[in-house]
Symmetry: C2
Subunit: 271 residues, 2 copies
């Protein structure tokens, strides 16, 4: 199955696209089951926020309709939706009225080892720190060199994910996931107003936690607080929840709140 | 004339290229005159540094040969050379041995008004601040959303360039150029080890200044120091040097050191 560009099957894109030139766009990575995009409303909401903050003049009704049609054709897999500012002449200036380019790509559902979900994962402590840029923080935009550098720090299968701190040493997220910790029965995750990607599964779990009477804290998290946490897990909208089993010398059992949220995430993604 | 991808004429690129997915690559914008890339050695040196810091395993001898052949075909114009990490499966991890993709694009030499060079330009004071990321600072990489946001702050022709500060209010650069000031006969420009793009023309002017017995300072520049400077100018490797005539209420005459360096830059670009 080929990708789609602006609603038509395509495998390639103009060399002049601003997505390539400047990373000028946003994307969503969406689990698709039985032809249906999972967590659709949250993906669309984040996309809308990205378009608003980057002044991308997208027709989100059309984007949504194309995504639904693409997912229907895909069946089971992962749909990656990109919106770029389209083609431009050389230079950073753009036409504020130009319609963004709509790109859809498919890939198979990833085949992660069952132990990642069952026994949990080891986190690699990345040296790559996240820079602070409030204008871009939280968005899933196409400027992802920090994640590329962080992911290149480890090879092999000993580590399923990496831990990323900001330049002040605060705990922010995983390379391709968000991070939660449980402390005295409360759920804590980093504030992402200065750096980081505000994941769709993170938003969903925060909402679900409130519905399940779990106390929730979104704020600063130090490395000490992470190490001293009762439970730690990562999440994203493709795999759901992975318990964190180890970070360097610290080893955690898989805790009850992690399991509970993992079941909730699984139900959402298998729906 | 079409662009080239990996040495062959092409106008499009695979949707799976990591340049599009993550801005995973570097670029150079090179003035070409009479079939010859100008400031070639400095462009190649910056490219080499970018490849080294981003672990892009490029064959720079081949890149250089292709650039020369492309410029020969182009005659007069601007060649944009991009190196991306090529195609990948979904996800940030990449094959460290993969050869980067080589992309060449051409555009006409820009037709800037002569007054930009003669009488100078007004700088727009951008609200978009540069975030600090030492791992990427100085490089001309493909993650350029900060510049896109900054350039979108003004429309029309009253301002030819924008002034960008870092998040601490230090003076760093223009949106698509570097910035110099002259103070008591000495040339000053910002240190770019935490943010900013270390321009090829900036490097050349710093080297030339030393050859012309001009004192040179590379360090922190406050907004006050900029406003109190005797002369201010911007530079890049396409247009050379533009005197800065005005920043908000402050107006400068075009100073002698600016003119001298402008002539040097012009000679380099017309060579």
């Amino acid at each position: 199955m080929p990708g789609w560009v602006d609603g038509r099957p395509a495998d390639s894109l103009s060399l002049k696209d601003r997505g390539l030139a400047y990373g000028d766009g946003v994307f969503e990575t969406i689990a698709v089951r039985a032809g249906r995009p999972q967590l659709l409303e949250r993906h669309m909401a984040r996309l809308a926020e990205g378009c608003q903050r980057l002044a991308l003049n997208a027709d989100l009704i059309m984007v949504r309709a194309e995504l639904l049609a693409f997912a229907h054709e895909l069946g089971d897999g992962v749909a990656k939706l990109m919106l770029t500012r389209g083609e431009g002449a050389r230079g950073y200036a753009s036409d504020p009225q130009a319609a963004p380019r709509r790109i859809l790509l498919n890939s198979p559902l990833p085949d992660y080892p069952a132990e990642y979900s069952d026994a949990g994962i080891s986190l690699y402590p990345c040296n790559t720190r996240l820079g602070e840029q409030p204008l871009l923080a939280g968005l899933k935009h196409l400027n992802r060199l920090e994640q590329v550098l962080a992911r290149a720090e480890w090879q092999g299968t000993d580590y399923a994910e990496g831990l990323m701190l900001d330049r002040n040493g605060r705990v922010i997220e995983g390379v391709f996931s968000n991070l939660f910790l449980v402390r005295n029965g409360a759920l804590c995750t980093a504030d992402l107003s200065r750096c980081g990607v505000a994941g769709v599964m993170r938003a969903e779990l925060l909402a679900q936690a409130v519905g399940h009477s779990l106390e929730v804290h979104v704020g600063e998290i130090t490395l000490d607080e992470l190490v001293q946490a009762d439970e730690v897990f990562t999440c994203n909208s493709v795999y759901g929840v992975w318990p964190v089993r180890a970070l360097q010398a610290r080893v955690w059992p898989v805790g009850p709140i992690t399991r509970k949220l993992q079941h909730i995430a699984r139900a959402l993604l298998d729906a």
